[in-house]
Amino acid sequence: MDCGERGLRSTPVVPSSDAAGGSPGADTGTVSLIQAVLDGIPAQSAWYAPIRDQDGRITDFEVRAAGPHARDVHGRTGKELIGVRALASYPSVAGSSLWEGYLRAMETGGPEEIARYVHVETVEGVAHRSTYTVTATRVGGGLLAAWVRDDDEARLAARMAHTERLGDLGWAYWNLATGQVEWSEHMYAIHERDPADGPLDLEGYATITHADDLPLLRQALATITGTEGAHEFEVRVHTGGRLRHLRIVGEANRDAGGQALEVHGVAQDITHWRHANDQLALTQRRLEEELLLTAELQHIIMPVQESLLTLPGLRVGVRYDAAQTALLGGDWYQAMRLSDDQVLLAVGDVAGSGLPAASAMAKLRHAITGLAFADHDPDRILVALNRLLRCVRPDVLATAVVARYRPEDRTLTFTHAGHPPMLLVRGHTVQRVLHPGVLLGVFDDASYTHANIRLEPDDMLVMYTDGLIERPGRDLYEGLDILAATIAEVVRAAPADRLSAVMEALVPSNTSDDTCILVAHVKPNTEGVPDV
């Protein structure tokens, strides 16, 4: 305002006989009136007083009133513009179509339209180019100018078009009272419809909607017009001979009584996304079926029962935990009564996972059963298993611990083939038991020997594969110490059922590997055994 007042005082305005209204600049009543009018108009506008020389010729224009939306190339807005002189502030205006238009308007009264006036202004050494369309009219002895910046609109429209194209978005408007419908350019593109044919009204839209989705479309429209807020739905429409999936978000504008007046909607073409999603769901379903089949297969190869096995002189618990990453693994167990009332106990590990490991595991498990029934000792069983692997699966490495238990004198005969030690739980103590032999499947001439131990009533024997104790950064034997400590803690608590308590405490340490656990519990009340 200071600026305006100062401009008002310091500008000599020479009255002119041909200018209607006499002395415009000095008439504060006129200025206030015009300012009040401009304040009420939502357009960029300003009112200038002409500056004249001694001969009455116009030499410049000075802003005396400005609308709140007025904005110049320097970023000055509204009343900040008051006092600004056209030529003094924007020298490039001199001699331009704008200047000529202003003078013509002052002469004829106007209105003069100066279309697409290109203004080049150098701000801090950089030339800025803007395009305006200006309307000039003589009002109250001064010049009323209103302008729009053409490039703003063009930029906005371009940005809108980009947004619609990049997002595959279309915009639509529907007036409920008049039935008038408007579509944006990309809305036509999405529907492969010629803009010359105009938008589809609701009835027209129903004709391209997939028959199955018609109830949904009607329901969605009822929801949008009947409830507050935006509502989203998905429909399929027939366009250009194919089916498109559209996601539509719509919202209604309401009158004061809450009655819906018009609906704005945005539609997005999600056909590709939907197809990819459907494909993914199908793949996932197939994968789940495969997983079920795999689990079933694993169970057929090696059934694992939840309940404890009762064998001569022993109760045996077994568990198989598949790796998180592969349901088919190479770990196996065998616990069975042999024909002479003896018991075979074995746990093994075929390196690797998946079908190759599982098929080798199945071969070993079947072979060991047959060999045990042939009344072989563990060392002879392992020699035969090694030969079998070298012959039929020379690509495979395997480890195993094989034991034969004779309940009549509680003797356990056993051999390890590259396999970690068993744990023997006696009373409250836990100790390692190992009779080492070489891995299976490496050496053609591998030979083994066996060892015997006498078990005590209530002893427990723990066989396992390395998934129980091994984990990244931890040595097998560190893991074994931790396992032994865990078991010792469990048995010190004197549980009613030692076997179940220990089985529960054995948790695989490594979920990326499969794990097999076998715990045999010597029946406490075995009779007829001479003390040693």
Partner: protein
């Protein structure tokens, strides 16, 4: 031929040639997290050095069962290629699994690299 060096977060592998023999040094923690890099390294070492190899395990912190399996495969491959493979390790160490699995009685194990290189048939 340039030497081969591979490092992971927890392990380092290096291969260099000593005449006709490839000397492979495996250091750090060999658990299943390094299985793939170790397998790749051993493949490349075979390609560069041939089937006569000494593998130094003296600076291992850990040798898990899968890595042991890879060493055994290495030995099998060396044998099938008409070569010779010796390990350098001591019994009370991270490599004790070689004794537990019975491998130490089947694959030549030496206590120093010099002994192993001197024992290699290709050296003689």
């Amino acid at each position: 031929m340039s030497d081969l060096h591979v490092s992971t977060d927890s392990a380092q592998f290096a291969a260099e040639r000593h005449g006709e023999i490839g000397l492979l040094k495996l250091k750090g923690t060999l658990d299943y997290t390094v299985r793939q890099p170790l397998e790749d390294f051993l493949d490349q070492a075979f390609t560069r050095c041939g089937p006569d190899l000494v593998i130094d395990l003296l600076q291992l912190d850990l040798l898990d069962s899968r890595s042991t399996g890879l060493l055994v495969n290495c030995w099998k491959r060396s044998r099938e290629g008409g070569g010779w493979l010796g390990l350098v390790a001591v019994q009370r160490s991270a490599a004790r699994v070689l004794w537990i699995t019975g491998l130490a009685s089947r694959i030549p194990v030496f206590t120093t690299v010099e002994e192993a290189l001197a024992a290699a048939p290709a050296h003689q």
